[in-house]
């Protein structure tokens, strides 16, 4: 009997177990590893234990003492894992350009002479310059905030204070701003286009309703890439829109619709529109049809009836749609890449660049974390506003 009651108790738990496992495996764990990636910095520390021991004895200004150099050579001799050495060199080169060639020279010298001291300064005079040793000693702590700081255009100076980066080097903050600005613009256009459309579907009947719904659903079932490519064909200089307008003699020269902000907004609005129309439509369906005639019978002008009755009642749909559109717009990558110019790329393309091209996963993770945090803050603000509204309503 007890077996049965155990099953009865644990049945629901077992049923949700797959979902729970799925969330842990594909959501919490990756998120955790991204977070770790953005602050972890053990590429250098794990290979240079001896150097770490004597590093504190160096003042960081003068040419480094022989003890430090000897410890460094000992560590290099002990490091046999090529990929780990590669990680270390890449990390050092990213702090101080020139480490790549310096290290390949030094590693070769260490290989050629497996015992006894090596005069590093004689090998390459770069080793007499403190900034190379500073790059090593700075990298000996297993965690770092350099990626997170760099993600918001900050850095630490030699004294360890947080300062802003030279403006030529980075513009992440501006890119974040651009990302949110584009997403907000797209959301507003989606509301302006989506609300009347959803209203139209609600009042339409028969085949007209089916056709209007199909016009929303069909694009939703089409791949994002295909829809974006279609906009490429429509918007280009010799594209359908420009050639039609020119044939009709409305314009003389082709409009600049592609490789700029206009094109990105148009394409993104179209791609996101179903996510606005459907939530609004589902809310409008639940509003009794007789409310508007009732308002009219009490003498309200149709516009006043709309603003005072229909709009407040359907606000939940607008809010849900806006949230869906805004959140998904923040992560857009393909559409700006194909339709936009160099000045319209959003933060995802910079994350992709660091992950795929430069192989700087720490930086890619840090940008991702900053994006996540800002998005969560925005969501919290939204939640607060929405609950306040509910209370006051």
């Amino acid at each position: 009997m007890s077996g049965k009651s155990f099953l009865q108790k644990s049945g629901p738990l077992l049923l949700v177990a797959p979902l729970f496992l799925f969330i842990c495996l594909f959501f919490i764990w990756p998120l955790g590893s991204v977070l770790t990636q953005s602050v972890s910095d053990n590429a250098v520390a794990r290979l240079l234990p001896e150097t770490a021991k004597v590093a504190s004895s160096w003042d960081g200004q003068s040419a480094p003492a022989e003890g430090l150099q000897a410890a460094f050579v000992t560590d290099l001799r002990a490091a046999t894992d090529e990929q780990a050495v590669g990680d270390m060199v890449r990390r050092l080169n990213s702090a101080q350009s020139g480490f790549r060639t310096l290290m390949s020279k030094t590693l070769k010298a260490v290989q050629d002479k497996p015992e006894g001291p090596i005069d590093l300064v004689a090998l390459d005079r770069k080793w007499s310059q403190p900034q190379y040793w500073k790059a090593i000693t700075d990298a000996l702590s297993p965690t770092t905030d350099r990626y997170l700081l760099a993600a918001v255009d900050l850095m630490r100076n030699d004294a360890g204070e947080i300062i802003s980066q030279p403006p030529k080097q980075t513009i992440n903050v501006a890119i974040f701003g651009r990302t949110f600005w584009i997403s907000a613009t797209v959301t507003i256009f989606c509301v302006l286009l989506g609300y009347p459309y959803a209203l139209l579907i609600t009042v339409a009947t028969g085949w007209k309703k089916q056709a209007l719904l199909a016009a929303v659903l069909l694009p939703l079932w089409t791949s994002l890439l295909v829809r974006t490519a279609a906009w490429f064909i429509l918007l280009q200089e010799q594209g359908l829109i420009n050639s039609a307008l020119m044939d009709l003699n409305i314009i003389a020269d082709p409009l600049a619709l592609i490789f700029n902000r206009t094109g990105v907004i148009i394409a993104m609005t179209h791609v996101s529109l179903p996510m606005m129309v459907l939530p609004i439509y589902s809310v409008l369906l639940t509003i009794p049809k007789n409310l508007m005639p009732a308002a009219a019978s009490l003498g309200a002008h149709p516009l006043r009836a709309f603003v005072r009755v229909l709009l407040p009642l359907s606000f939940g749909g607008i809010a849900a749609g806006s949230l869906l559109v805004f959140m998904s717009a923040i992560g857009y990558y393909i559409t700006p890449a194909l339709i936009g110019g160099a000045g319209d790329q959003m933060i995802s393309s910079f994350i992709a660049f660091h992950a795929q091209n430069s192989g700087n996963w720490g930086m890619a993770s840090a940008l991702g974390i900053v994006l996540l945090v800002v998005t969560i803050i925005l969501y919290a603000v939204y939640e607060r506003l929405a609950t306040q509204r509910e209370r006051s309503a």
Partner: protein, 350 residues
């Protein structure tokens, strides 16, 4: 309830076992990765298919547009799903130092002394020499640009320009346009003032630049008239002349050249077959066939000697072309790529 639970458990078990079986599915065929376009089509005809016939085993081909992070990600993810990859000089040096590639057994490849010295590396074997040069439509411009000063001159040659997106090559071109002599190019670029100067020069042209990433794009832009001059891979220009009867011209003076290499990703499933493939693609008799299809220079000297003169004149390795060209300084880019790329991206996005 009990039955439902049993069914669910059985279903899970069945699912898990199929997943396990699928995980041990058939071994992947030898996967060769090139840069796409006319060059890979030619490689497929003269290397991939004949090699597959000879070995009696099928192969897979894929293409990519470079990017060191792509290879790094494959290695970090465990066993890579590519075997042989054609990489640029900088990726060869970086990956070899970082232990991403297998060391090549040159005794097995067997043609080490037939190769030009810079095409022999402990991790890579030369694929071909290619140039990044100015290209334009000879039917639209009778008297075309002669150097990078002309490329920057939008009054003399109206229209937009197309450049390969990235810091590499463009900083060099900008300095050349600003009057730096080829011999001093990398000395100037090694200083902060030199880098500032290059970006300032790029600023002048920025509104007129259409950036490209895949090699097919600049040729399309030239063909559609979207741009009037572009920096292009030399093989693409002669390729489109042959395929579509165009009259595109290349400007060899101040063009920049580099060599690509075959590498084998470390721990690749088919690394033995991969080495056999590299050996096959390095033999003089096989390399001699590639320039007949696409105009790139061969690292095997014996192969290069057999190229008919009318084709040879279109290759980056042709003495007259080589004399006026500038080799890419790989060491400079290995050290400075990260810092300059960050700055280039910031500049580009402004």
């Amino acid at each position: 309830m009990k039955n439902l639970f049993k069914t669910a458990a059985f279903g899970m078990f069945a699912l898990a076992s199929t997943a396990l079986v699928a995980g041990q599915a058939n071994a992947r065929d030898l996967t060769i990765v090139g840069w796409g376009g006319v060059a890979q089509a030619a490689q497929s005809d003269v290397y991939f298919k004949p090699f597959s016939q000879k070995s009696g085993k099928p192969f897979l081909e894929e293409s990519w547009d470079g990017g060191y992070g792509v290879l790094q990600a494959k290695m970090k993810a465990g066993s890579p799903n590519w075997d042989v990859v054609q990489v640029e000089a900088e990726e060869l040096a970086l990956g070899c130092a970082d232990g991403l590639y297998e060391k090549l057994d040159w005794d097995k490849i067997g043609v080490k002394d037939e190769f030009l010295p810079e095409a022999v590396n402990e991790c890579g074997a030369g694929v071909y020499y290619w140039s990044l040069a100015m290209g334009y439509d000879g039917d639209k411009l009778n008297d075309g640009p002669k150097n990078w000063v002309d490329f920057w001159d939008t009054t003399k040659f109206p229209g937009k320009r197309s450049l390969r997106k990235g810091a590499k090559y463009n900083l060099e071109f900008a300095l050349l346009a600003d009057g730096v002599k080829p011999a001093e190019l990398y000395d100037v670029l090694s200083t902060d003032e030199g880098v500032d100067r290059a970006f300032k020069k790029l600023d002048e042209l920025k509104p007129n630049i259409v950036w490209w990433e895949a090699g097919a794009q600049p040729v399309q832009y030239l063909a559609s008239g979207e741009v009037s001059i572009a920096a292009v891979y030399n093989g693409r220009v002669t390729g489109i002349n042959k395929a579509e009867g165009k009259n595109f011209k290349l400007v060899w003076p101040e063009s920049m050249y580099a060599i690509d290499s075959w590498v084998i990703l470390k721990g690749a499933e088919n690394k033995d077959a991969a080495l056999d493939f590299i050996a096959f693609a390095s033999q003089a008799e096989n390399q001699a066939k590639l320039p007949l299809k696409v105009d790139y220079g061969m690292p095997n000297k014996k192969a290069a000697a057999t190229i008919p003169p009318e084709i040879d004149a279109n290759l980056p390795t042709y003495p007259d072309n080589l004399k006026q060209a500038i080799p890419l300084n790989v060491d400079f880019w290995i050290d400075n790529s990260e810092a300059l790329t960050a700055r280039f991206n910031a500049w580009l996005a402004q």
